[in-house]
């Protein structure tokens, strides 16, 4: 550790971006054909469409003095590859991912689904996932537990 600020005063996060391409169609059985069309617009076109998604994963934790790393990239990359990319890349979200046979495969829902898939990463703490559906649209999810809870309250919650 160099300089005067130690690791306890600063939080360091590691961020990694991954890429996958998938198709989807925004449609829900809870709405009529007309309502689906009105709500989802061209995203409701019957045969679906696709995106090049960018997935940004942020993890935090102690920086190991021996390696200088929060998590070894090989571990993180391998985990994301198995837990997410193999599931989503070059797939139809509606047809190939069971969760989206019920839920609408919006990128909001995709964020939540991917967050849950990555939460069990054991080498560091998952902070959040951020997904760019296009370069102009991005979505983030950081779990529900501590979201928008002030730091002091969050600490109390952890103690219980």
């Amino acid at each position: 550790m160099s300089a005067k600020t130690n690791g306890a005063e600063l939080r360091i996060e590691l961020g990694r971006r991954y890429h996958f391409s998938a198709s989807h169609r925004l449609h829900t059985a809870h709405l009529s054909e007309e309502e689906n069309c009105r709500v989802f617009g061209k995203c409701n076109n019957p045969f679906g469409h696709g995106h090049n998604y960018v997935l940004e994963v942020s993890v935090s934790g102690r920086v190991d003095p021996a390696t200088g790393m929060i998590a070894n990239l090989a571990d993180l990359d391998g985990f994301v590859e198995r837990a997410v990319l193999q599931v989503f890349d070059h797939k139809s979200l509606n047809e190939d991912v069971p969760a989206f046979q019920e839920k609408v495969p919006t990128t909001e829902n995709l964020c939540i689904d991917i967050y849950k898939r990555l939460k069990s990463f054991s080498h560091a703490k998952l902070e959040r996932v951020r997904i760019e559906e296009t370069r102009n649209n991005s979505f983030e999810y950081a779990g529900e537990e501590l979201a928008r809870v002030p730091v002091a309250s969050a600490a109390k919650k952890e103690l219980r």
Partner: protein, 143 residues
């Protein structure tokens, strides 16, 4: 509170090697980052300062001043340098994004007199970066 961010690019070389580990362990842990003669990256640094705009100037801080601080503290130290051999603040450390971003935070924080350093993000490549911010501040670095 308003956040102001300045981005700079610098290029540097480094190698990941821990002399306390065997060559085999270094290879296993660091992979090609352990190649004996090192390698380099184009780094991108984003520095965010938080504060209230001055009522007279409308500025949180003068961007020219921030530019000068980044030039002195980061560019002159790290640009076109070997991070292991030429940056004393990183001596004895593995120059990962995580460690470099912390060193940069510690270099910049005391120099910023108007507003307060809020967030530092260092990209080693477009797909790999580290964030640094003070514990207890906003959960996200960029809001």
């Amino acid at each position: 509170m308003v956040l102001i961010t300045r981005r700079i690019d610098f290029s540097a070389s480094h190698i990941y090697n821990n002399p306390k580990l065997s060559p085999e362990e270094n290879r296993r842990i660091f992979g090609k980052c352990n190649n004996p003669h090192g390698h380099g990256h184009n780094y991108t640094l984003e520095v965010t300062v938080a504060g209230e705009p001055d009522p007279v100037t409308g500025m949180v801080l003068d961007l020219k001043e921030l530019k000068d601080i980044l030039e002195r503290e980061v560019m002159q130290r790290m640009d076109h340098r070997h991070l292991n051999h030429e940056v004393p603040e990183l001596a004895g450390e593995i120059p990962t994004c995580e460690n470099i971003v912390r060193v940069i935070w510690n270099l910049l924080e005391p120099k910023i007199k108007q507003g307060a350093l809020h967030h530092v993000r260092l990209y080693e490549s477009p797909d790999l970066f580290a964030d640094c911010f003070r514990n207890g501040t906003a959960d996200r670095g960029n809001i």
